[in-house]
């Protein structure tokens, strides 16, 4: 059972994707193949018996190569994906930074997008009105907030996305490849905000290719290899093992 300060509990979780041998996305094709008995699915276990517990105020980094299941793990925690087997328990409100600014609409203005995006994250109109000035100030977009999003540079849109997603202190923060946001000065601001969350007892799960980021932000790390936990423990130890494995391979 989950302890009271557990924010995330992932117990023996597996996720199976069904990959058709050839991509079939039309009914016509499916019907034909079916008649010929040629629909062949291949099971692909993106996660295979993964267990992880994260307490309030703790931060865990997830490393591994492309396709190791890192993003799948985040999606399972973010409730986007139901595990095929095992149990996921999450206590508290989570802020996902899976892809900053997903859900922005290009014809709408920055202001309208802030409201739309924050509502997608589960906030009410009144809550958003109260934080609106703060969000725009953090994104440094006061002069552009009433222009349509299509006039924004990708950096501006990313800044706005980060500002909206982190405007409310969550109980757990889920981050996929954080540092793609804006220029160096803004990245520094993002890191500071995340550090302040950590001090305020927010649980953090972060995925990155960048061992330096993980080492700096996290106390513990998990190395995922082809859906399985290859190593889990103190971040320095896991980083050493991981580095040895990828340079040796």
């Amino acid at each position: 059972m989950a302890a009271i300060d557990d924010r995330i509990l992932v117990e023996d979780v597996s996720v199976r994707y069904r990959v058709p041998h050839e991509r079939i996305s039309s009914f016509k094709e499916y019907a034909i193949r079916r008649l010929q008995r040629r629909v062949v699915f291949e099971d692909f276990w993106a996660l295979n018996g993964v267990t992880l517990a994260v307490r309030a105020g703790e931060s865990v980094g997830v490393i591994g190569r492309n396709g190791a299941g890192k993003s799948t793990l985040l999606r399972v925690i973010a409730r986007v994906l139901k595990p095929t087997a095992g149990r996921v328990f999450v206590r508290g409100r989570s802020a996902p930074l899976l892809e900053v600014g997903a859900g922005f609409h290009h014809e709408l203005t920055g202001r309208e997008n802030v409201f739309l995006n924050a509502t997608l994250l589960g906030h009410s109109r009144r809550e958003i009105e109260r934080r609106f000035g703060e969000i725009v100030a953090f994104a440094e977009l006061e002069a552009f907030i009433d222009s349509p999003l299509r006039t924004y540079s990708s950096g501006m849109a990313a800044r706005l996305g980060f500002a909206v997603a982190t405007a409310w202190k969550p109980d757990l923060l889920i981050v996929d490849e954080l540092l793609a946001v804006g220029d160096e000065a803004f990245q520094q601001k993002c890191l500071e905000r995340i550090e302040s969350f950590k001090r305020a007892n927010v649980a953090l799960v972060i995925v990155s290719h960048d061992l330096a980021v993980i080492s700096r932000m996290c106390g513990r790390a998990m190395w995922l290899d082809r859906g399985k936990v290859a190593a889990f423990g103190d971040v320095a130890e896991v980083a050493t093992v991981y580095r040895a494995a990828i340079t040796g391979a």
Binding site: I4, V19, V80, R93, P96, A102, G103, L108, T119, S124
Partner: protein, 280 residues
């Protein structure tokens, strides 16, 4: 969930070992995310109207344009024995436009949603609900030219007009149910939406919209009675065109088919929707 400083005992919990049945869980989540519906609706209306000068006028002019063409064609060529034919025709057309557009818009919305839904958690049916509300708003706007023409044609509305919103509500429930069933299939096979366009145009001609129901041969009346859209249309059109309520059997058939379709669509969709994430 408005404050973040609450003690941990009252934090929202997501536990896959302890979930309500999908259709119920989805309802609870839709309630939590209820603020999203007006946001998505205003996004749809804004993006629809923003870049056109005529804006809302299009919603008014479209049925009028259709009406002129169809009235000329049908009152001159086919000569149905219907007084006030434009009123009959236009009430059928605005109703059908709502049903056809909304049921396919729901599926399109959910497809739009899937890219987003693979990144953040949002109850999926919120997209279907907002597409329905958007449709209802356009439907309500198109009542303006309809009632203007009805009044010009000398129709004098009476108290039965109160059933018009009920008919619209049933149409919305039915369209939502059909849209959810369609989306369940479309999540797997995208081309089902193209096939649906064929189905819906056949359905259009099999429903008494352009023509009076009397031209249905007696031998095929049973087919007409099996068409749920026909009953729901009558609930909506009868008060406008005949200025009297549709018969009790029609009201019953319309209500039952709308409710059953909605419940069925809701259950099927919420049970199946999780599977889509596993496809690569």
């Amino acid at each position: 969930m408005t404050t973040t400083s609450v003690p941990s005992e009252v934090l929202p919990v997501y536990d896959t070992a302890n979930l309500a049945p999908p259709f119920w869980e989805e309802l609870l989540q839709v309630w939590r995310y209820r603020y999203l519906v007006p946001q998505l609706v205003s996004r749809d209306l804004k993006t629809r109207y923003k870049r056109s000068i005529l804006g809302v006028a299009w919603t008014l002019l479209n049925p009028l344009g259709m009406l002129v063409v169809l009235t000329v064609v049908f009152s001159q060529l086919f000569r149905f024995d219907l007084p006030n034919y434009p009123v009959y025709l236009l009430s059928g057309i605005v109703f059908w436009t709502f049903f056809a557009q909304t049921s396919s818009a729901i599926a399109n919305h959910l497809l739009w949603g899937t890219t987003l839904l693979s990144r953040i958690y949002v109850p999926r049916t919120v997209f279907a609900l907002s597409a329905t509300v958007t449709g209802l708003i356009n439907f309500a706007i198109s009542l303006v030219p309809l009632f203007a023409i009805a009044l010009l044609a000398g129709v004098r509305p009476d108290v039965s007009l109160l059933l018009v919103p009920f008919g619209m509500f049933l149409a919305a429930a039915f369209a939502l149910g059909v849209g959810l069933l369609l989306s369940t299939i479309a999540l797997e096979f995208a081309d089902i939406l193209d096939m649906y366009q064929i189905v819906i145009s056949a359905w259009y001609f099999l429903t008494p919209i352009l023509y009076p129901q009397q031209i249905f041969p007696d031998a095929y009346r049973w087919a007409l009675n099996l068409n749920p859209v026909y009953h729901i249309l009558e609930v909506f059109r009868h008060p406008i065109y005949w200025t009297s309520a549709a018969g009790p059997l029609t009201l019953l058939a319309a209500t039952v088919s709308a409710v059953v379709t909605l419940v069925l669509g809701w259950i099927v969709f919420t049970t199946r929707a999780d599977q889509i994430a596993y496809k690569v």
